[in-house]
Amino acid sequence: MRQQPAERAKPINTSLQALGAKQFGFDEARHLLWRAGFGGTPEQINLLASWGPEKSVDYLVDFQQVKVEPVRDDLFSKDIIRDPNDEERMAYRDAQRNRDENRLAELRLRRQQAEQDDREQARQMQRWWLKRMIETPRPLEEKMTLFWHGHFATSYRTIEDSYHMFRQNQLFRLHAVGSYAELMHQIIRDPAMLRYLDNNNSRKGKPNENLARELMELFSLGLGNYTEQDIKEGARALTGYTYKGDDFTFDQRNHDGGAKTILGARGTLDGDEFVKAILDQPACAKFICTKLYRYFVHDYPSGDARKDAAAKKVIDDLASTFRSRGYEVAPVLKRLFLSQHFYDPAVRGEQIKSPVQLVVGAVRSLNTPVRDLAAVLSGLRFMGQDILFPPSVKGWDGGRAWINTATMFIRQNMLVFMLTGRRPQGSDALADSEKWDAQALVQQIKAAFPTLTGDTPAEVLNGVLRFALGRTDPHARDVLEKYLADQNNQLTPETLTELMLLITATPEYQLT
């Protein structure tokens, strides 16, 4: 075992006390920008470092104060997929009655055309969201929208209605760092979710248990914190929660208004009272804070007893903040991002970037061209994170599940694509010709390290590594130094680009 004895001896700081302003420099600001957002340029990192921790965290979490182009409700068409109107219903019935095969074929064809158009709109929406993540001045807003998308995972693949996906996406954005309790009340009214978990046809006498089960197992409490009986009764509470067109509707006739007992609460409980019974459970805050911890800090459980013990303590502390602040997310995130624990060396540089983080981060930190979004999205799919198409209601596992031999190449090749325009898949003839400006980045890096006055290749390499990897693996450093020596230590745009190709191909680049 080649673990550094020094690191082992030093206990992990589990304090949620704020980090001192003096301890917050370039490396800490870099860490904060990558975790609370998608990374930043050397200039942005430097700016945050000059602000200090408090102002930086406020800026990132209280993002409402940052102006952004609002998302218009009519950004996507709501009428591609819609219920047939009376006239169309009649036409279909007539054709069926008369066994008019030609007419039926025509109606089917129209439906198929609509489905095809809708799939195209779903692809447009993926490009739009990805672009927003790349461009937004409020990185945490999009990062939390992605968090809720993975938490309340719903796939277009099943619901096949892009507008409903859009509405759900907006719901997550609206409550990104707001009230989780409100999100729970809204999610049982969300057409995409109601359809995804089959609640739209759940009625008195024949309740569908799908939503009730996942509401507790995956969205709030976790296994072991409820009973099968709670699911049965919860499903009854949710009967009649359905939608018409694009809007939620409560179907009183199909709602089971009888007496129920759910998680100890008694009464003629409806969906909101079911949600309230869930929110009253202490397990709830802990469950959500565990997920937030995994998203922002470290794998848990990680298989490392020392780190897991630290994580458990921090999660418990965050959960008590979450409860005392009435399930508001922002105070929890602020406390976390300011905490000494968040900056402990044991949790830094150890998070595997999600595919979205990898590509969005490449643009936002290295300032690469945005490239062809369709190609970037197909890269995301190959890497296992097809946004709007999570693999199941469990969402994405994250962590090491992202990585295998095949995705390793795709990740490295995506960076080749971002930096040089050489496509990871398909024909090179279509290579994206826009040049990445390596010199500009190096200028910024030099400016970021005022102490680094020299221009020697070794000094430049130091700065580049500190910015791009956050740490220097001696083995990789040797290889890179040798590469530069082979180029007669000439720092041309070409050699800088190639240097960055090698840096982004290191296993360490997959981490943040």
């Binding site: 075992m1 080649r2 673990q3 095969e101 039926l104 074929a105 089917r108 198929q112 693949r157 099943t158 096949e160 794998d299 848990y300 459980p301 990680s302 298989g303 490392d304 150890e350 998070q351 595997i352 197909s378 799919r381 190959f382 693999p391 199941s392 209601v393 596992d397 962590g399 090491r400 599940a401 990585i403 295998n404 031999t405 095949a406 995705t407 390793m408 190449f409 490295q412 090749n413 080749v416 694509f417 040089t420 050489r422 990871p424 898949q425 083995h475 990789a476 290889v479 040798k482 590469y483 082979d486 680009t497 190639e498 190709l501 090698l502 191909a505 290191t506 296993p507 360490e508 981490l511």
Partner: protein
Amino acid sequence: MDTLHTAFTRRQFMIGGITLASASIALPQFLSATALGLPGAEPGATSIPGVNEDRILVVIQLSGGNDGLNTVVPYGEDAYHKARAGIGIKADKVLRLAKSEVGLHPAMAGMADLYNDGLLAIVQGVGYPNPNRSHFQSMDIWHTADTSGTGNGWLGRYFDSECCGFGKGESGTQEKDANPTIGIAVGQDAPLAMRGQKVQPIAFESADRFRWTGQDVDKGLEDDYQAISRRGGRVGNSNSDFLTRTALDAQVSSDTIRKAVAAKPRMNYPNSDLARQLQMVASMIHAKLNTRVYYVSMGGFDTHSGQGGENGRHANLLRQLSDAMKAFYADLKAMRRDTDVLTMTFSEFGRRVGQNASQGTDHGTAAPVFLAGPMVKSGVLTPHPSLKDLDSGDLKYTVDFREVYSGILEKWLKADSKKVLEANFAPAPVLNVKA
């Protein structure tokens, strides 16, 4: 060598060869390089003398919903010809199958040859309860072997069981010795069927893409890249150790796979995408990769209109499938590996019995599954589903596809089908092998 082989347990044997790289990372670098140079175990070499354990499954996915009725044709039934007035296959054109009342589409001469050589089994009427007619959903159901279409893939769960055992390890940890090449999919996407909790398949459309493309920018970067990726001495359990090991695995399997696929073709294959994919698979089998499951696919079966009959769109698809399968087995036989390779075809659903107004067919239900290889119980194994007793115009399934999976898992891959399928399905008696 004999003592070495018998000393291996089955699990260790399976993950030998390529994964020596992973096992050896604790060694100093000069030793690890030697380990990388070791050849894979000889095919046919056994952990228990006399038992061949080098069994391979090839899955051919037919995407879009293959029209089973015009593939395996119940040519003797009036109801068939009545329902298919425009696109039906005339009884005298069908390639009749001995000892059965059905025949193959006239474009499927290649598979008729396989049948006559005792290399083809046909299971008719394969489906599942409450059939779903959405392409996505029904495909997911076949991939997950779960009628809700959720969870990991059935082959992924098999890989998990082989590498890591069930229930072992928490999420976020991975056993060190998972075989990085246990499942290889030729295609853009890693199919859901092969995705497990712990083990993920390798997927590549063409092998030369299963590599770092930075070296295309400058050939001179290749050595530096290798030096960065091939790093020894990382045995810890941090994420950075894990990534370093995976990068090493990727390097090693990339070289092996690309070398295998780059080898000179041993014989001519027909000119189709599926044939190209199967030729790549044959090359990897020839190169003795330790891969258990290969996955290939062809699309275009969603024939809502202008499907054609004896000739035309659907006929062309079936010809491609059939000719490619025939060439594949000829190739395998020439390299004396045919007895190691079982092939299964499937589609997400069949199509409706009656043709539609556009000379095509719409999404239906049950359809035939083909199994090929010298180990299959050759013949038409189950009767054609009734053309009279329909479920609102659709065939009623007679065999649950998970019984076919169970037969393959139990009798060919020697896995516990109850654990892999997470349910109890009787193994369909489709193979002539002792478990």
